[in-house]
Every structure is written in structure tokens, then in C-alpha cells.
């Protein structure tokens, strides 16, 4: 396994528990980490990239203990933080050069070459002399992935990378990640956007309230949700009643009433019929239904 997390817990100084007894084995390839905001994804990411020290537990990254061998971990790590928007006053190429130099690429000509290749790869070569802070959101995110990939890391951690991107940039970004994952790299993609996982990850885990709610493949997650999604048509009065009792995930007006999709372990009645689940349904099931057992 590329990354092994055992018994990981983390508490903030105010006593708030961010992560509780996380146990995860993350293999090579693209690994999705799904969860709502506040689930503890970012905390886990920051621990994985050595920005935070966990309160308890053990993490092994490609054979290196994250507590005692941070330098080695950092050497094989690439990291793209959430909201990668605020830059110091560097030009695109300078920024990437700086990031490259800090990874140990001390030979300037080699570094220059690597930087140019990476800029070509992420489609920023033309913008190389622009100040990074003047780039568009998508370009900034691409610059972010470029700095994370510049030294060809074994582990790449990307935290909520597609938030705020338009569909075209989102697809472009996913493709970049997929390309990177094909080169024997472990990519941990933390997101609350279900589509990011479904389109690119073969393995995933779902976090909610600091705990792992699911570990497996997206398909496995779907299969666990099988039979828990219902479709039904109701009147206005019935809709209000159902909305009180169940997790309604789709509401489409239909004649004088509503065409609803509901996630529920039991049949909610009102003529509900089973509906084939997608990852969004599974996400709702695991975040809102399953943990209430």
C-alpha cells in the first residue's frame, strides 16, 4: 500500500475532535476522499502533507513515518491546497521555478527545462511571464497542479481542486490528474463534489464528522445504496410531510404536485418505487442516513 493510516485521531486545541480513529489503506492510483464540508477532509489532507501533526495514530507514506521522517515524506509529496488563489508577487514561471528549486532541482538549466515542460503540459506556457495573481481561477488551479507535479511526486494530495471552476476547466483539470495518476503516482483527491470522484477515482473513502463512513470503490458505494433510493409523485401537502421525514434529493414539479427522489432505508409509501442510485444518492445515504443507524 502506498499510504497506510492507522488509528488516526486529531483534536484541536479547543478540544474539538476533527478526526476519530481513521484507518485507511490507500493504494497507488487516484483515490477519492469524499465528504461534506467540515467532515475532516482538509485536516486529514494537512496531516498527510506534514502541515499538521496528528494527535494520535500512525501514518506511513510510501514506507516513511510521517512523524519521524517528514523530510523524506516531503521529498515525495506534491500538494495543492484548497482555495489556491492567493499568490505572492511572482510571475508564473518564477513561481514554478521557485517551487521546483525547493524540491531539490538545483541545476538551473534542468530546472528551466522541467518548468517549461510542465507549463506546456498544463497549458500555461503562453502565460509564463504574467504575474500569477493576475491569472484566471482555472489557470491558477493549473499552476497549482503544475507546482505540485513539477518534481514528479509519488504522492499527490489535492484538496477540493475543482471548487469554483467552470465545467470546461473542471474537465481539463480532471484530465490532468488522470494523466498524472497513470504514472505510478498516488493521487488523493479530496472533494465534496461527487462528480469529481465518479469521473476519475477507482478507489475512494467517505468521511463524515471525522470518521470513515465508507471505504471501497465508487461502484461498491453504489451497491450499498442499492434499494435505498425511491421515486414517488406527491401533492403539495404530502411533499411537506415527506420532506420532514426523509432526505429528499430531487424535487421536480409535476402537474399539480411533485416528482420526488428520496433516500430512505424503508419505503416511504405514497406509491414510491425503487430507483437506481447514483453516487450523489450514495453520498446522501452515507452522510445523512447511514450514520443515523
Amino acid at each position: 500500500m502506498s499510504i497506510s493510516i492507522k488509528g488516526l485521531s486529531h483534536y484541536y486545541p479547543n478540544g474539538k475532535r476533527a478526526l476519530t480513529d481513521i484507518n485507511l489503506e490507500i493504494p497507488s492510483g487516484m483515490f477519492g476522499l469524499l465528504g461534506p464540508n467540515g467532515a475532516g477532509k482538509s485536516t486529514l489532507m494537512r496531516i498527510l502533507v506534514t502541515l499538521m501533526e496528528p494527535t494520535e495514530g500512525q501514518i506511513d507514506v510510501c514506507g516513511y513515518d510521517i512523524r519521524t521522517q517528514r523530510k523524506e515524506v516531503r521529498r515525495i509529496l506534491g500538494y495543492l491546497p484548497q482555495d489556491f488563489r492567493f499568490f505572492a508577487k511572482y510571475k508564473v514561471r518564477e513561481f514554478l521555478e521557485y517551487a521546483a528549486a525547493l524540491t531539490g532541482m538545483t541545476n538551473s538549466s534542468q530546472r528551466g527545462k522541467a518548468v517549461d515542460e510542465m507549463l506546456e503540459q498544463v497549458g500555461l506556457y503562453e502565460a509564463r511571464d504574467r504575474y500569477a495573481q493576475n491569472l484566471s481561477g482555472g489557470m491558477k488551479r493549473r499552476l497549482g497542479i503544475a507546482q505540485a507535479l513539477i518534481h514528479k511526486p509519488k504522492v499527490l494530495v489535492v484538496d477540493e481542486p475543482t471548487t469554483g471552476l467552470d465545467p470546461e476547466e473542471r474537465i481539463r483539470f480532471r484530465n490532468l490528474l488522470s494523466e498524472a495518476s497513470s504514472k505510478d503516482t498516488t493521487i488523493i483527491l479530496s472533494t465534496h463534489i461527487v462528480g469529481d470522484i465518479s469521473s476519475s477515482c477507482t478507489e475512494m473513502a467517505m468521511l463524515n464528522q471525522g470518521q470513515v463512513m465508507f471505504r471501497g470503490s465508487p461502484a461498491g458505494m453504489l451497491s450499498e445504496t442499492e434499494g435505498k433510493v425511491w421515486r414517488l409523485q406527491v401533492t403539495n401537502e404530502q411533499y411537506a410531510e415527506i420532506n420532514q421525514k426523509y432526505a429528499v434529493i430531487s424535487t421536480i414539479p409535476h402537474g399539480l404536485g411533485w416528482d420526488l427522489q428520496v433516500v430512505s432505508k424503508e419505503n416511504p409509501g405514497y406509491g414510491a418505487v425503487n430507483y437506481p442510485p447514483n453516487l450523489e444518492h450514495a453520498y446522501v445515504y452515507f452522510t445523512e442516513i447511514k450514520d443515523k443507524d
Binding site: V49, T50, L51, M52, E53, R67, T68, Q69, R70, K71, E72, R74, R75, L77, Y79, L80, P81, Q82, D83, F84, R85, F86, F87, A88, K89, Y90, E94, F95, E97, Y98, A99, A101, L102, T103, G104, T106, A132, G144, Q147, A148
Partner: protein
């Protein structure tokens, strides 16, 4: 392991960030602009800068200015830097790189330092280029590096380290900045020389001007001070590695940095401790010397009749053989000498005597087997050698004063040096005790040490090859120019020795050899006068005649030299003499290139005279010769001015001080020529110098008194009323007033003689006796006997009473009366004035009748100054006759509590009469006292503690309250100065002779305001009736603007835009009935002004003056109620 590569990488990219920031860009532009302006003012501009600027002054000046700016800016930058690190997402991706915390932080710190260092170098380069353009290649290039290393590097490293540490601990940029800016402000404006400049991390006040002759002074101490901040700065930066908010690469990787940081911080603190310690060691050493002096001050006194000195320079060291003949002052078994403690005594021989010697720091105690007879000559030969120790110099000066800095060009701090000794340059003045002198150096317990005597000196000097010695006397050189012999024509109080690469430029005028000794490294500046060499002698001659005329003495020596000495050479004003160390017999020691004396900056003077002269003459060109003559005349007049005035503002209190000109010529004519001694009374010399040198206690005139609140004499008198006289003389806090106290007491001492024979006749007698024998020791007793012969008054018993407490009398001085009596031959003006001593102590007053220059008293020989004795509670009436009206009478109340101490009674306020009979001239005793009041009038003055009250100040802020409180504490002298531009937010007590008062003429002043502040006079009435109410004022005295308003009686707007008038607004109250009256100050008269007529019952009447007015300042003085005889 620390990766230099990583540090370089971080630094490279962080530098780009810094340089691209607006903050740095703006600062860089300002710094370069400041450098160009500084360069234009101090290098390219033709005037005002000393010629030595092309040496070390320019790099020092530029780095000092730059350093202050960058100390402030680097705080912003360093804290901003970390703050940005916190905010930027991009920082986090760098934190996940494998570089260590140390590499990252050191890279960042180095980037900050690097940009400032680069900017420093740019600024230095600007200075250098400008200097090259102006002065050519003869520059002190090393200074540029020295000042960069001494000023910029430690300052920046320390402030960057401190600001980042604070930022990391406080995690708040605003608080960090406030703390650090306050720290910088305190450093610049308050800390000054506290703890020997220990806290001056910027080096703003630290004396570090490099002399072009002797280089840096106390370089090791300087380096240690700067090292302290460099080490602390490095320690703080290393501490930041541990404080940095990023997980370290490994668990133990911070430990070595913590240890290293602790070591650097400890080393920095140690350097700081060492800095203070070296001063403390010196101070303790000086204290030990004083203690020894105190122990031996009354032992082993002697007079040195002959002192033959043979000096051989050996590298840095000198070896001296002193062959002396001394006479014990009394029968005694020991002789005590003072010799610089740095010299090691090799041998001592006393032919014909068995003697045991003991060296106690600077003292040499010779104990003889038998008793030496008084005045029996004893020959002593001693050999000593070594390096002179500066710590013996100025033992009488306080440690605090010695640490205080002196400045040139307003802001460059000059290290103080009192002697120099090296293989290249040596300067040993008498203050260094470079040859053995009988007695101790100083004592703070007994004035015995002050005795000095004339000695026959002879000096043989063998300098290091290539150097020339300078000393007093006729100089002869042996054939191979290796040995110089100096033979003074007469006995001298002391000799000095200077050895350096001196080049003379001489001229002989009327048998006197005038020489300028310039240090060889320089160009011959006096060559500028070569073209007018023929005419220079005339100007030398006429200047000398002017001095001789003013001094009423001939110049006593056969030569006079102006000798160039290092800029660091410093001396102090001494209480007991007007002579400064800058003047030595036959010579004046002038700082290198005359760097602090504009008249010796010939090229600048030449340009200035050229331009100024042409302007004055309406562009008629002054010829080169005329210009040179003007420059030369100005230069040789440098000894003519007695002093100058300078102002200072501390804590809002503006004070004018008089600074003596240390080159004032009088000591050359008097102090080095005459000597008064008394076997019993060491104070004698000081007293005679004080009484005969009337200029030495110049109080600076009325304007200075008004600025400072009190004259120096008045301050001395207030102290004398409060404290023991000997304490005033010895307490360093009052050293500036000690000579005033001494002069006043001396005047009082001689007063009986003066009263008997006339003041001027007495001074003439003392002067004549003093100058009876030049270059020899005159006994004080002989002067007293001499005075007794003429006056019939013996002063010897007053010597015994000298130590008794000073009793201050106080006097009421009547308004003078002038009666014009027409006689057969002429109009006679009879002046009458009454003086009443209202105290229990006897005293003296002097009256001086002053006439307009165009008129005269009618009898030139008639003394215009007289001294009158006034017994306790006695009133004296003094009647004098003149052929013209005196313009004023100056009454000096001498040892009195009167304020002002000196009252000038201008004739415009005198009562004038026309009469037919003359009262014979003389001093009469009156039965009645001086009464300036009218029948039925009641006056309440501001000095009346019970009947005069003031409103409480409205103060809300703690700070202002504290400032007020601290000001109250500081003011020993109660009365404050006045200046037109100052704002008086509190009632402030001032004195002036224009004010009303019994014997203290004072008033309270306050700036105009909203009317909430008031002064109140409560006048108790015993009779009901109709009263005229008057207010005493001197409307123009304290209100400059009022003088102008008198010409156009207009009104003003106050701050609120409301129209206010120039009126004083009064409220007159009795039994809760109030009347409001106003007095238009534009029309008010000097003296009593009628406010109105009121009917009052027999009870207290309250007259209140508020502070709402359009005048510049409101003066609350006195109120008078006069009962009308008929209603």
C-alpha cells in the same frame, strides 16, 4: 544539515518579492533621494561643511541617516513578510517542500537583510561618487566599509530578528509594529546615552566619528557594542527557527538551533554586559583615584620650582626622565605627586635623602626618613615610561557628563578623547598628568588640591623618526634633527607636549612668532593666504592690539601657535577657572581642519565672502585679495568671542544656555601669567579670578532671563537660600551654577572694601596687586593687606566666616525721584532712590547709574557704580547729582531673595519734580521704610499665598497629568521662562521687573482659552465704602502681538471662530453679586489700570480674571483697591 543552496534559493526568490513591494520601492526611492539631497548639502554645496567631510564624515553621515530610516522600514517589512506568509496559500505549498525550517527562515531573513544591504551600498556609492567628483581620489575609502559594518549590519540584523521574533510570538502585526516603533522612538529621542549607550541599537547617539588623524577612538569598545546587537540579532533570528509555525523536518532538528540561538543570545548579552562593565571598571577606577586623592589631599603638599623633562618616544610608548626641584609647603615627612597611572615608574632618586616610594594608582607618595623643612628645596629625579591612561583626566567631571555625547554637523557623535598616545601621534596636555605634579589631582572633600604654582620647565624631546614635537618655549633642534629642546622664557603653570607629523607655517610680527602647525597628511590650507602674505602681519598686529586693549594687558609670550589636533579632543568647563584645555600657554589647540569651526574652513569661507561680499556691494566684485583678507580676519578673530547662546527643548521646557568659547583669549593673557595662592585658603585663586573677570558670569541679559525664567545668578541665589554653599560647589547637578554662586559670594566677601573705597577702585587695586609680578606666585594675604591699606577694612575675619550658611537679605526698592534744580551755572539733576532691607540679615546692594551713550554724567571721573550696605530693617536713601538725567538705575541686590535680582529702573517711570534746593549727595538712613502704596489702598499680589488663588487645571489624560507632575518635580526654581511662541496650558509663574511685587516681582501667565481658567484675588475690606478697583499690568511685556494691535485696535477670532476681543475679562464679586468688567489691553497702560468704581461692604471682595481673551497670553499679577475719600 543546513543547506546553503536552499537558503540561497529562498533568499533569491524572496528578494524578488521584497524588491517588487511598493513599500520597499518607496523607501528605496526616498533613500536615494535623501542621499542625493544629503550629498548636495554636504558634498556638492559649496558652504557650511567642514573640509574633513571628504574623509570619514560623509560615510558616517550617510550611513547614520540611512540607518535610522531602514531601522524603521525593516520593522514594517519583516513583520509584513511573516504576515503575508500566513495569508498566502502559496506559502503552504512551500512548507511541504523538503527544505528545513532553518533553511526557509534564514533564506527569508537573508533576503530582507540583503535588500537593505544593497540599498546601503547604493547610498554609499552615491556618497562616494559625489565625493570623488568634489574632492578627487584622496578619500578614506575604508570608512565606507567601517560604517556599513558598524552601523547598518548590527542594526538591521537586530531589528529584523527582533521584529520577526515578536511577530511570531504575538502573531499580530499591528501590536508588533506599535511595540517596535515605540522602541525605535524611545531609542532615538529618549534613551540617548542611558547605560553608556547600551540601548542605542541604531547607533544614533553612539559616538563613532572617525578622526582623520587618529582613526576610530575606542574601537574595541565600539565593536563590542555593535557586536552585542549583531549577536542578539542572530540569536533572535535563530530563535525564530524554533518559533516558526511549520513542523520541522524531524523531531529533533530544532534542538541544535535552539542551543545555537541560546548561545548567540547569551553571547550578545555578555557583550552588552561587557560594554557596561568596561565603563563601570573605568568609573570605579576613577572613583578609587578620587578616594586616594581625598586620602592624601592634605598631605605632602609642595611647590615645584623646577621641572626638567627628557622625553623619548619609543614606538607607541614614551619614556621620561623628570628632574625636579620641589619645596615642601610646610615641615613634613612625605611628598605626594600625581603622575598618570599608565606610566610605570622605573626609578626614583632623591639625592641626599633616604626615601621610600609608594605608587598608588596615579599617586606617588614619597616618605622621607626625616622631616623635610618647609621651603627647603629637594631634588627628585624619576624615570617612568609607558602608555598614558585617559581615566585620570577630568576627575572632577561627573561620569554622566563624560558619557554625554558631543556632536558636529548637528548629528554626528564625536567620541571624547582627552589625550592621545601612539607611535604616529601623541598629545599630552597638563590634564593628562604626563609629568609629575605635586599634590593630588582632585578631591571632592577638600579644596586643597586646587593650588597651583608656576614652575620653571625645560623639555628635551626625542620623537619617533619623521615626527615633530611641539611644546612651550624656545625650540632648538640638534644637528641631525632628532632631538628638540624647549626652553620657556618664564615660569609656567604647566606644559603640554604634542608629537606628530606637524608642518609649521610661521610669521614673525613685532618679535612674536606666530605659527600654524598643520598635520602633514593634509594639504597646506594656509597656503591660500600666500598671495597676501605681506599684509597678514598688519592684521595679526591689529587683532593682538584689540585683545590687549580689551584685556588691558599685554600678550605675555614670545610666540603663539595654532595647533591642529584630532577632532575627538574634548575638554570641559571647570568651576574654578575660565580656562579650557584647548588653550595652553603660547598655543591654541584647534580641531583637525577646523571641522567644528567655520572660520577655519578657508575654502568655504572664501566662497562665502566672495558671494556675500558681492551681494552687499551690489555685485561689485570683491577682489581676491579683499576676500582673502576677510577670511583671514575672521579666522584670527576666533578667540575674540566669549561665548554663544543655544536653545534646547526638553519636555516642552525651552531653555537657552550660554556656551563658552573655549578659545576665548583671556586665559592666555591672565591665567597662564598670574597666580594667586594662599597657604591657608585654596579658594583664593578662584575668588580673585572671579572678582576681576567680570565677564565670566555673564547672565546673558534680560532676554535670556526671560527665556529661561531666571538668570543664572538668581538660580544660584535660590540654591544658596536652600542648600549649604559647599554642597552647591561640589554637587555635579549644579555645576553650571557653581561659578555664579562663587561670584556672588565673592562679591559679598569683598563688599565691605568696595563700600569703603568704591567698587571700581577696589577692582583696580586687586588687579594692580595681582599683576604686580607676572609668572610668579602672588600671595592672597598680600592682596588683602593691600586692600586694607587703602580701605581700612580687614577681610581676614571674613575668611573664617566663609563656611557659615549664606543668609539672603530682601529689599524693597522705592521708585526713583528725579528733581531738576537750576543753578547759576547749569541744571543739576538730583536722583534719589530708597532701598529698604526688610529681612533680618545685613546685605549690600549696588547701584549703577546708566546714561545714554550720547550724553554723559557730566563728570567722567565720578563713579557711576556704588555699593551700599544696608543693615537689617534699615532703609537707605541715596542721593546723587548729575549734569544729565540717568537713563536708568540698575539695582543689583547681590546676596538677596529678590526676584528679579537685578532691577533696571527706567527713567520713564520715575517721579519727576522741579526744585530749588539740592540735598547734599550721600547715603542717608531713613526712619521710615520704602512705601510705594497710597493711603487707603489695599493691594493683593499673586505672591500672596492666602489671598491669591488659581483655578485647578483641566486635565483629562493620564499622560498629560503625568507630564505635568514630572515637570513640577523637575522645577527646582519655581519660576519658568517665557517665549512668545510657547503655549501655556497651565497657569505658569514667571518673574520680570515690569511686574508688581514687594521683593519678588512675579505673575502667573496662561494662554487664552474658553474662559474656564481663572486667577482670583480675594481682597479683605475692613471698611465699607466706594472703591476704585485697579489691575496691575505690563501689557506689552508678555504679549508681542499686543504691541502691533496698539496701532490698529482690532479684534480677533478665537479658535472656535467666535469673535473675541483683546480684553481681559474680570468678574468682581461680593455677597454673590457679580459685576463683569473688561480691560482693553490694546489701550491699557503700564502699571495700575482702573477697572471701575464700586460700592463694597466691609467684607472680602473677589476679583477674578478668566482666560477668555484675544491676546497672546494672559498675565495675572496684582489687584489694588483704593477707597475714595468721598463717595
Amino acid at each position: 544539515m543546513l543547506g546553503i543552496t536552499n537558503i540561497r534559493i529562498v533568499s533569491k526568490y524572496e528578494t524578488k518579492l521584497l524588491v517588487r513591494g511598493w513599500f520597499f520601492k518607496v523607501f528605496a526611492v526616498l533613500a536615494i533621494l535623501a542621499a542625493v539631497i544629503l550629498g548636495s548639502v554636504y558634498i556638492l554645496q559649496p558652504f557650511q561643511q567642514p573640509e574633513m567631510v571628504n574623509r570619514s564624515v560623509i560615510p558616517y553621515l550617510f550611513m547614520l541617516v540611512m540607518n535610522v530610516g531602514q531601522a524603521v522600514v525593516s520593522v514594517f517589512l519583516a513583520s509584513e513578510y511573516l504576515k503575508r506568509d500566513k495569508q498566502l496559500d502559496t506559502s503552504e505549498v512551500f512548507y511541504t517542500r523538503p527544505l528545513s525550517n532553518a533553511e526557509y527562515l534564514l533564506g527569508k531573513m537573508w533576503a530582507t537583510l540583503k535588500v537593505f544591504f544593497m540599498l546601503d551600498l547604493v547610498v554609499a556609492a552615491i556618497a562616494l561618487i559625489m565625493s570623488l567628483v568634489k574632492y578627487g581620489v584622496n578619500l578614506d575609502y575604508l570608512s565606507y566599509i567601517w560604517y556599513f559594518l558598524l552601523l547598518s549590519v548590527p542594526t538591521l540584523v537586530f531589528i529584523v530578528g527582533l521584529s520577526t521574533t515578536l511577530m511570531l510570538i504575538l502573531n499580530n502585526q499591528a501590536i508588533t509594529m506599535v511595540i517596535l516603533l515605540a522602541y525605535i522612538g524611545v531609542t532615538l529621542f529618549y534613551i540617548d546615552d542611558l547605560y553608556y549607550y547600551l540601548f542605542d541599537y541604531i547607533g544614533f547617539n553612539l559616538p563613532m566619528l572617525k578622526s582623520a588623524v587618529t582613526g576610530f577612538s575606542g574601537l574595541s569598545r565600539l565593536i563590542n557594542h555593535r557586536l552585542c546587537y549583531l549577536l542578539l540579532g542572530i540569536g533572535l533570528i535563530l530563535t525564530d527557527i524554533s518559533l516558526f509555525h511549520r513542523l520541522a523536518n524531524s523531531r529533533y532538528s530544532l534542538l541544535p538551533w535552539r542551543i545555537t540561538a541560546a548561545l548567540f543570545l547569551a553571547a550578545g548579552l555578555y557583550a552588552g554586559y561587557r560594554h557596561v562593565h568596561t565603563y563601570k571598571v573605568d568609573e570605579n577606577y576613577r572613583a578609587d583615584m578620587i578616594e586616594l586623592d581625598n586620602r592624601y589631599v592634605n598631605q605632602g603638599g609642595a611647590v615645584a620650582d623646577v621641572c626638567n623633562l627628557t622625553v623619548t618616544q619609543q614606538g607607541d610608548s614614551v619614556s621620561v626622565t623628570a628632574d625636579m626641584t620641589v619645596r615642601p609647603r610646610e615641615d613634613q615627612q612625605t611628598l605626594v605627586f600625581t603622575l598618570n597611572p599608565g606610566f610605570r615608574i622605573g626609578s626614583i632618586s632623591v639625592p641626599g635623602h633616604e626615601v621610600k616610594s609608594e605608587r598608588l594608582k596615579h599617586l606617588l607618595v614619597l616618605t622621607f626618613a626625616g622631616t623635610l623643612k618647609a621651603d627647603e628645596p629637594v631634588r627628585i629625579v624619576m624615570e617612568y615610561s609607558g602608555m598614558a591612561d585617559e581615566r585620570i583626566c577630568y576627575l572632577d567631571i561627573t561620569d554622566e557628563k563624560m558619557v554625554e555625547n558631543t556632536k558636529v554637523l548637528s548629528m554626528l557623535n564625536v567620541p571624547k578623547r582627552y589625550l592621545f598616545q601612539s607611535g604616529d601621534y601623541t598629545m599630552l596636555t597638563p590634564e593628562s598628568y604626563w609629568y609629575p605634579r605635586p599634590g593630588v589631582a582632585f578631591s571632592n572633600e577638600s579644596p586643597e588640591w586646587e593650588r597651583s604654582y608656576f614652575t620653571d620647565f625645560n623639555l628635551i624631546v626625542t620623537p619617533n623618526p619623521g615626527l615633530t614635537p611641539i611644546s612651550q618655549g624656545l625650540c632648538s633642534v640638534n644637528a641631525d634633527s632628532t632631538q628638540y629642546t624647549f626652553k620657556p622664557e618664564s615660569s609656567l603653570p604647566s606644559v603640554s607636549l604634542l608629537i606628530g607629523d606637524y608642518r609649521p607655517k610661521s610669521m614673525m610680527v613685532d618679535s612674536t612668532l606666530y605659527t600654524v602647525w598643520e598635520l602633514g597628511e593634509w594639504d597646506d590650507r594656509f597656503a591660500v593666504f600666500d598671495s597676501i602674505a605681506d599684509t597678514l602681519s598688519n592684521f595679526v598686529r591689529s587683532t593682538r592690539r584689540t585683545m590687549e586693549f580689551t584685556a588691558e594687558m599685554k600678550y605675555p609670550f614670545r610666540r603663539f601657535s595654532i595647533v591642529e589636533v584630532p577632532v575627538n579632543f574634548t575638554s570641559y568647563k571647570r568651576v574654578w577657572t575660565s580656562a579650557y584645555e584647548q588653550l595652553q600657554p603660547e598655543m591654541a589647540l584647534v580641531h583637525e581642519r577646523g571641522c567644528d569651526m567655520r572660520m577655519f574652513q578657508f575654502e568655504n569661507q572664501k566662497r562665502m565672502y566672495g558671494m556675500g561680499g558681492n551681494r552687499r556691494r551690489g555685485n561689485n566684485n570683491m577682489s581676491e585679495k579683499e576676500i582673502l583678507i576677510s577670511v583671514f580676519q575672521t579666522a584670527i578673530n576666533f578667540m575674540m568671542q566669549q561665548g554663544s547662546f543655544s536653545g534646547s527643548n526638553r519636555g516642552g521646557q525651552f531653555t537657552m544656555t550660554q556656551t563658552d568659547n573655549p578659545y576665548y583669549y583671556m586665559p592666555l593673557f591672565y591665567n597662564f601669567r598670574y597666580n594667586i595662592y594662599s597657604s591657608d585658603w585654596p579658594m583664593a585663586k578662584r575668588m580673585v579670578e572671579s572678582i576681576t573677570n567680570t565677564n565670566s558670569n555673564n547672565n546673558g541679559g534680560e532676554w535670556l532671563r526671560r527665556m529661561n525664567g531666571l538668570s543664572e545668578d538668581e538660580k544660584a541665589l535660590i540654591l544658596m537660600g536652600k542648600y549649604d554653599f559647599n554642597r552647591i560647589m561640589s554637587d555635579p547637578e549644579w555645576e553650571d551654577l557653581a561659578d555664579n554662586a562663587l561670584a556672588l559670594k565673592t562679591q559679598d566677601f569683598f563688599a565691605p572694601v568696595s563700600a569703603a573705597m568704591g567698587y571700581e577702585a577696589m577692582i583696580d587695586s586687586i588687579t594692580a596687586k595681582t599683576r604686580e609680578k607676572e609668572f610668579s606666585n602672588v600671595s592672597f594675604d598680600s592682596i588683602l593687606d593691600w586692600l586694607q591699606t587703602f580701605s581700612g577694612v580687614s577681610l581676614k575675619e571674613k575668611i573664617d566666616a566663609w563656611d557659615e550658611p549664606v543668609r539672603l537679605a530682601c529689599y524693597k526698592i522705592g521708585n526713583p525721584q528725579m528733581t531738576t534744580v537750576t543753578t547759576d551755572t547749569a541744571d543739576i539733576y538730583q536722583a534719589e532712590i530708597a532701598v529698604e532691607n526688610i529681612s533680618d540679615y545685613p546685605g549690600y546692594v549696588t547701584l549703577e547709574y546708566v546714561f545714554f551713550e550720547t550724553e554723559n554724567a557730566g563728570d567722567e571721573d565720578k563713579p557711576k557704580k556704588m555699593l551700599i550696605s544696608v543693615a537689617p530693617h534699615e532703609t537707605r536713601r541715596i542721593v546723587t547729582h548729575w549734569f544729565n538725567t540717568p537713563s536708568r538705575i540698575d539695582v543689583n541686590t547681590m546676596l538677596s531673595s529678590n526676584l528679579p535680582h537685578l532691577v533696571r529702573l527706567d527713567n520713564s517711570n520715575w517721579s519727576t519734580y522741579t526744585g530749588t534746593d539740592l540735598t547734599p549727595e550721600g547715603v542717608y538712613s531713613l526712619r521710615t521704610g520704602v512705601d510705594n502704596t497710597l493711603p487707603g489702598e489695599i493691594i493683593v499680589d499673586n505672591e500672596d499665598k492666602e489671598l491669591f488663588t488659581l483655578s485647578r487645571p483641566i486635565r483629562t489624560g493620564y499622560l498629560s497629568k503625568w507630564i505635568d507632575k514630572s515637570r513640577e518635580k523637575k522645577n527646582e526654581f519655581t519660576y519658568e521662562g517665557f517665549s512668545d511662541w510657547r503655549t501655556y496650558t497651565l497657569w505658569t509663574l514667571v518673574t520680570d521687573q515690569s511686574m508688581y511685587g514687594d521683593y519678588i516681582r512675579s505673575a502667573y501667565i496662561i494662554s487664552p482659552g474658553d474662559g474656564s481658567q481663572y486667577a482670583r484675588w480675594s481682597v479683605p475690606l475692613t471698611d465699607a465704602g466706594v472703591y476704585d478697583v485697579y489691575f496691575y499690568t505690563s501689557p506689552d511685556m508678555y504679549d508681542n502681538n499686543n504691541r502691533n494691535r496698539r496701532w490698529n485696535n482690532n479684534n480677533n477670532n478665537n479658535n472656535n471662530g467666535r469673535r473675541v476681543t483683546n480684553d481681559y475679562n474680570f468678574e468682581i464679586e461680593q455677597f454673590n453679586m457679580q459685576d463683569r468688567v473688561s480691560l482693553n489691553m490694546s489701550r491699557a497702560e503700564e502699571g495700575w489700570n482702573l477697572l471701575g468704581t464700586f460700592r463694597f461692604e466691609a467684607d472680602t471682595v473677589k476679583v477674578s480674571l478668566n482666560n477668555r481673551s484675544g491676546v497672546s497670553v494672559i498675565v495675572a499679577d496684582a489687584v489694588r483697591l483704593v477707597k475714595r475719600v468721598r463717595d
